[in-house]
Subunit: 372 residues, 4 copies
């Protein structure tokens, strides 16, 4: 057994390395001038970001490893969820760090901005790795030129072909049972190969019934004809929006165009989870979907807040051609979503009272009892 | 003297009115069904928003009254600043309330969404009043149809012609002295009508000198010709972006096109304040400009966060023509900025070391001494 | 079917009632003086608190109703958890509202503080109801005089005898199976009345083994005798702290003294849940315990932050006898914990590697499989 | 001129050092077991804290250098304020980092807690330096044994004798003019050595008048004798609390006992600033006082939140003698205040309407005019 060496806070945390890693370039290159006081803030803020990116990557890597299991053991779903939630918890710190950095005024920044050339936050390879491992596609990027050096590019290349969280999640959804079900009353396959329950069919019928019912209620309760007509038009538009969902061919052509990304089958499974999330067995899957949607929002909100800061710090120039750094960042905030297809599903939820009941054997399989 | 009636918490805060003002429409209109549990959350969250909007309007109205004074007494600048900062402090609560409301899932919302028709958050007249009093222009809006009833429209019409914060701030900036200065050593006009100091001229010279200096340094220090060429091209682009600022005719034509809004003179004054903000007398004006920029960001961030929530709650539909609610809200988050011209000025700051020194009499006027 | 009346934002939210419920007492009683500007902020902040208290009570009442069911259906555990988490999400808004109110300076407060006499935030009956329904006991209070009027006292009296969340949670924990288990391999009782598995016994053995193992490792790996002695002393102290837990008589006498509140049996169940929380079936119970602990922290942190604000606003007086308002609030922040016994259990967790394995039939009962 | 070496993000931020500074002791010492997943989170969170502590020390050191100037130039007051506000902005990140760390459950912590022995967060020398440089006194500490090694103790010793922020601030307050004032109308000393204005005297008279006036109003407006008696007793208690403030001997004996720390003269100056803060010249001093009070609250709130986390993570043990880690931390949260005397002054503010007017020459000196 290895003899124990008592720990000391400073050594344990490698503080000599951490706290001596701030070299001010303004001290080196600002001619005839002292170093810029605020460069320390600039460096430390970015280092803090990189520490948290490393933490996020640590969690994400462990999540990817867990999700690569087929089948994925149930306790590991809980673990994946726990670690996704931890990633989400890092969000508020990322946002608040922007507020600290913003105490640097644009003129304070000008005191050393020149000596940073041509370094850029876009060169954070950890952030690029995060995006890639989550599942952001190269084709979604506003630019292909990431300005990284060879060593950093090599790190990206090494993971580019590995399955991302998006891909692994899609596969896990596709493997979900329950969507089609054939069995006798004891839950055994009855051998005649006829599905007794097909979620997709039930759901379509329920959607149609729901719109019919809505139309009828509107006709009976709206105060006047003009209002009735407006409401009916709105219902028709809503109903129309379901058609792409119901037609696999249309859906797949949207996928080919890049409008949709999640496979048809995984979409159905995700919708099933959203609709029946109150069943105990679907709690974890539901919360897992919620977590990846929240993760998208964390990054999106941070990109937006970051763009606001850049606007305040650098400003948008008058009359320059081309897109400014601000616009570029803003476009990214909106376009760089990995799990947009999951959030978009909320448009296809239907009220609980319109929801088709599950057949008893599916229902009992999805439930369990803690107390007897 | 009026006899004092002792106060009691519940009466003082009119809690009987406040806490009985939640009528669930799902209880009234959800046929054959109990009321929707989450409608209470929906109502209370919106009521809390409206309370905070009232508080913001209270502050803004007092700010507008103070700013209408000509001249604006110096202690009132401090008061205006204090109240702007209070408005900004309300921002985090507005953001966090979104997170509370988001604990309502899309399906929970569907339990009562139908009975809200056709009410909409766009009908918050207080929010419209806030936008208008800050200075958002009808022409900036993505839609002219605000869906308000006559009574609410009348409230908007009543303030539409009143000077907004933007207008009052612009006027106050235009009245700022210091930009042109002619005097003898005692600060008196020396009668020969020749300005001894003209900020704009000095600033232009400094900008030119700065770019010349930068070019020279780059030529001397860049490691190779390719890098030098890149950097010089970048400097040229930067210099180009100043031209619209320096040519009043160009600037005014940008104003007519709606690209710029702040007057040429107020722009100069604001830039002067940004550049020389370290002088004690410019501290308050500087912080006032910072506060209105921050206020823009508060509303912008909230609109963005709100759009994120709507996406999660309602989703974006597949294949529907036209812009979804989400896109609409997102566009608003970016376009509805009142003080964009103030934030844009950061692009025209120059480093402290390039800043022209103020003449001694201006400088001493802008300073003061607390200790002797 | 009742004819539908289209909704309008202002009417739906009863905004006429909400936004006209701010009557400034400074306008009425400040002699020879205009109303105090900041009284509006004071009123609106408190009204916003009361709205959120109403929301918390709404959630808590529904939680109490759900928890009163015996047995508590599993989907309702998820619902209870969801609503507890919503209550926790209100915490950050409660904290941030303090920051808004703090933009009022002490002198701004003095402008109207006099006319509030003798009203006090302690008169918030909704807050008292929250405390009581969560399970705060009258005996825990620093004072019995709550300064409420008869009507408010009647509201408190009406709920004083009803089971609180603490009581219902304790009952639910006591009903938890798994702690003692007798059965054949098919999970049926084998009729001989001898428990084959008793959690408490297994856990005790594991604790003893863990300390023995630790002692051995320390003896082998510590660098010198002095360190070894220190560490062994520490281990002995830790082991000692378990003794009250293991002896029911000791435990119950601590309960009688008010040191402990949670029953011996519920304590065992809670510890079981904490230790084996990774089993799917224990996920929800674990998260439920975490949520009530978090709820305690939300209120505790808010009380602390509130005390800080009072200190800043009113100050602590020099030389006055007795406890100041600040000290009083601070004591409350520390003492008014309902679920302290649940948080205290973390002291009795043992590392995963020391944890006794569950017998296969218990283990399989606690697991389930989503994928096959 | 030194040739410019283009910057690259990774090198500029020394990321190779920062991101390779996480060595898991669980990987080294956990026998027969893999490393603990959550140790990475534990290390990174603490490293992020240390980075922010370094930033705070950077700001504080520059503040101390600026404040050491006699006289302190006015623009430097603005700079001190700016940097204090930056320190305060770091507060929310410190708080949110606790929430990230709390995603580690007590059992996750047990997976590696043993191998940390005997390291402790109390060994953060940067945090001790912060406390010391702010002005926390050794005599205020709950323990004198800080558990640091020689190297870290030497760092503390090196600054122990240097003037803290408290000391420098006190000196600056004592040097404030305005408290006593003798001069002719042009602000020159009139030679007769009789103060024409003495703030302390005026303030005492105003306090007496205020209480007399309050008593009179109460007698006239209270609805009944019992209420009147209660209110008069309360007024008497309030008046009593001023006596220690007015008697220099009493005050100084409180100082000797350690009840008060701020000198009598600095106390007067601080009170003057609080009372007349609306004069432009007192804006910065007022905001500076507010900032140090806020800084105390930032640390206090963080200590409290930290104690809450420790309670959840480690728990309080039953039946152990002596104070638990939790209680210790909690006591610190309340006792470790440096600027308590400044916050306590709010108890001695009087309403604006009771405030003695400043003589015209003092008043005009404290004002200035931006617009003419």
């Amino acid at each position: 057994m290895k003899p124990y060496k008592p720990a000391y806070y400073r050594d344990y945390l490698s503080l000599d390395a951490i706290l001596n890693a701030q070299s001010l370039r303004s001290a080196e290159y600002n001619n005839d001038q002292e170093s810029a006081h605020d460069e320390m803030l600039f460096i430390i803020t970015h280092q803090a970001y990189e520490l948290w990116f490393k933490q996020m990557l640590t969690e994400l890597d462990s999540i990817l490893a867990l999700m690569s299991q087929q089948p994925l053991p149930e306790p590991d779903v809980a673990l994946v969820l726990h670690r996704l939630q931890r990633m989400n918890k890092i969000g508020p710190v990322m946002l608040h760090q922007v507020e600290i950095l913003e105490t640097m005024t644009p003129m304070d920044f000008l005191d050393f901005r020149g000596v940073l050339y041509p370094a850029s936050g876009f060169q954070s390879v950890q952030f690029r790795l995060l995006e890639m491992k989550l599942g952001l596609q190269d084709s979604q990027r506003l630019t292909t030129h990431l300005r990284l050096d060879d060593r950093d590019n090599a790190r990206l290349d090494a993971v580019r072909q590995q399955p991302s969280l998006f891909v692994l999640l899609e596969g896990w959804l596709e493997r979900m049972p329950f969507l089609e079900w054939q069995h006798d009353d004891n839950g055994n396959d009855d051998g005649n190969n006829q599905p007794r329950y097909a979620f997709w069919q039930e759901y379509r019928l329920a959607v149609t019934a729901m719109f019919d019912h809505e139309r009828q209620i509107m006709r009976e309760t709206m105060p006047d004809e003009r209002t009735t007509a407006q409401v009916l038009a709105q219902i028709a538009a809503s109903e129309q929006s379901f058609s792409a969902l119901f037609d696999e061919t249309t859906y797949n052509s949207l996928r080919e165009q890049g409008v949709k990304r999640l496979s048809f089958k995984a979409t159905q499974a995700a919708l099933f989870i959203f609709l029946y999330r109150e069943y105990p067995l679907l709690q974890l899957p539901f919360r897992l979907l919620e977590s990846v949607i929240a993760l998208d929002e964390v990054f999106s909100l941070w990109r937006y807040r970051h763009a606001q800061m850049v606007l305040r710090m650098i400003g948008a120039r008058i009359g320059t051609g081309g897109s400014s750094g601000y616009d570029y960042l803003l476009q990214g905030a909106m376009k760089y979503r990995v799990f947009a297809d999951m959030s978009a599903l909320s448009a296809f939820l239907i009220p609980r009272r319109s929801l088709p009941a599950l057949p008893p054997n599916v229902s009992s399989m999805l439930g369990f009892s803690f107390e007897k």
